[in-house]
């Protein structure tokens, strides 16, 4: 860069000298003065009048030579700034990708995801609902995606739900216990983190109703009050039996009226690959949070880990 600038400078000088013989005298300063004012570069000197006086052969073409010099200076500054900016960007990028990982991402990117999470948690409006559709809009054969933690040979009749962290102590529930709560139908969009969507008709109970029926223990050990977020454990952990798949959920999302513990799809009990006999449906999250075949539900005061979080994804994944 500086080399080519040097080249230009000497070229300009030669050009100026060549013109000295033929070109008529011209007022040298006006355009340069405009330029200097515009660039706020008051320190850029014009050709000193003493130099012009000492070199009468240059005086005739001071303007063109002056312009060339000015151009060279501005070019040098401009292109060096651009090169420095480009170099900083490359160095910044290389620095960033070489940072130690935090759950599969360089820590600065992980911090950015956490900052986004804090912002959206703060802006969260629980009255905002995922769009719902008529039942006729639901897919007849809903796409199956993700079989982690599932078992085609598992016996649904032998299934039990373990609840940990409840005020009543560790609980073991049967599907009938869950189905004793009010049933809700929900026809809504499942949005996969990959980018595709599908409209599904679910039937289940509100997780909020379940939490009210089997409330968590607060920090003092007594039953927490659902209406007082400071007394509630802020997280919920869900796992498949054997922990082949596991997710963490923030309590706000767990208490959302559209968050269901679903046991039916299109009016029929869940098949094993849709998460029989009981799965989570959390329409304010990407599909990965809607864990199938819930084995354990745990109230937690510490943020539970999450299968895809450990693979570099955002923990929150909230919509």
């Amino acid at each position: 860069m500086s080399e080519s600038d040097g080249g230009r400078e000497s070229e300009g000088a030669k050009e100026g000298e060549a013109r000295a013989e033929s070109a008529p005298p011209a007022s040298p300063t006006q355009p340069a003065a405009d330029l200097v004012a515009n660039e706020a570069a008051a320190d850029e000197p014009k050709v000193p009048s003493t130099v012009v006086a000492a070199m009468p052969s240059l005086a005739a073409t001071a303007t063109d030579a002056d312009v060339e010099r000015q151009l060279t200076r501005l070019s040098r500054r401009g292109f060096l700034t651009l090169a420095a900016g480009g170099a900083s960007a490359v160095l910044g990028w290389r620095w960033l990708i070489s940072r130690p990982g935090d759950s599969g991402q360089p820590w600065p990117l992980r911090r950015a995801l956490q900052t986004n999470e804090a912002l959206w948690e703060a802006l969260w409006d629980p009255t905002r609902l995922a769009p719902t559709y008529p039942r006729s809009a639901a897919a007849k054969n809903p796409r199956v995606n993700g079989r982690l933690g599932l078992d085609a040979k598992a016996d649904p009749a032998a299934w039990k739900l373990a609840v940990e962290g409840a005020a009543a102590g560790p609980l073991t529930l049967a599907l009938a216990d869950v189905q004793a709560l009010p049933a809700h139908d929900l026809v809504t969009e499942l949005r996969c983190v990959e980018g595709w969507t599908i409209v599904v008709h679910w039937t289940g109970v509100r997780l909020a109703d379940f939490i009210a029926a089997y409330p968590p223990a607060g920090r003092d050990g007594a039953a927490a009050d659902l209406r007082r977020s400071d007394s509630m454990p802020p997280f919920l952990a869900l796992e498949t039996p054997g922990r082949g798949y596991y997710v963490g959920l923030d309590m706000q999302s767990a208490l959302h009226p559209q968050t269901l513990l679903a046991y039916a799809i299109n009016g029929k009990p869940l098949s094993w690959d849709h998460g029989a006999p009981l799965r989570l449906v959390a329409p304010m999250k990407y599909g990965v949070k809607s864990l199938k075949r819930i084995g354990t539900l745990r109230y937690s005061f510490v943020r539970p880990t999450d299968f895809w979080y450990e693979h570099g994804y955002d923990w929150y994944l909230g919509h």
Partner: protein
């Protein structure tokens, strides 16, 4: 498109003059935007590849599927990098948005918008520019600071930027801003628009670079140093 009439080097009887063209702030916004947009497109591509469903075609006919061959994906190492794409996308989106908002605010406050916003003559001028650039017409279109085609292109790309931010928000928070997602026709449509806007940037970039190359060094240098060299007949030099 971006050439300056009469900027050829003529001998004798003319005088060089440096004319301020792009304000410092605009140059910063422009060059900061370049890597940001490139990385947004790149990270968006990593996200899109998890579900590359778009195409140009109708019915059963596909002219162009918006994906590369699996072999090429292997070669580019872009397989299974959805998490990385999302992490970058949701980090850089802030910088991209801030830079864009500052640019628009600057053009509004400084009055620079007067050179950029198309007016009722711009469409006809843009047509002339196109005919001229395709060598179908010898009539040089009127060239102010920017010609009609430039005004339309530079304004359109800012509107596209706003479109990307809004469709992006619509698919980023489709429950919290469900009204916005609905405005774009739902999640799937918003994602579709978000994707094609990106294709639009790539096309803009190709045309832009082509035009910059065609317009020459003086024009390009002005975007770096702010001033352009203009040759003027010495006799018309103002005092």
């Amino acid at each position: 498109m971006e050439s300056i009439p009469g900027s050829d080097d003529s001998e004798g009887g003319s005088m060089k003059r440096l004319v301020p063209k792009h304000p410092l702030a605009v140059r910063w916004f422009h060059w900061v935007n370049f890597p940001l947009l490139a990385l947004m497109v790149w990270s968006g591509f990593l996200i899109y590849w998890a579900n590359p469903v778009y195409r140009i075609g109708w019915g059963e006919h596909t002219l162009l599927a918006m994906k590369l061959s699996p072999k090429l994906y292997q070669l580019l190492h872009v397989n299974s990098r959805l998490a990385q794409g999302m992490a970058w996308h949701f980090f850089l989106m802030w910088l991209f948005a801030i830079n864009g908002v500052l640019y628009v605010a600057y053009t509004a406050v400084s009055g620079e918008w007067r050179h950029l916003l198309p007016d009722r003559r711009s469409l006809r001028e843009a047509w002339q520019v196109m005919l001229h650039d395709l060598h179908l017409s010898k009539v040089a279109p009127p060239q102010g600071k920017f010609n009609g085609a430039q005004k339309i292109a530079y304004t359109m790309v800012v509107v596209m930027g706003l479109g990307s931010l809004l469709t992006g928000l619509a698919i980023y928070k489709p429950v919290q801003v469900n009204w916005l997602t609905a405005l774009f026709g739902g999640y799937a449509t918003a994602r579709f628009l978000h994707f094609w806007l990106t294709v639009g940037y790539v096309l803009f970039f190709l045309v832009h670079v082509g035009q910059v190359v065609k317009a020459g060094w003086n024009n390009f240098r002005a975007m770096v140093i702010g001033v352009e060299v203009v040759d003027e007949p010495a006799t018309e030099e103002p005092s």
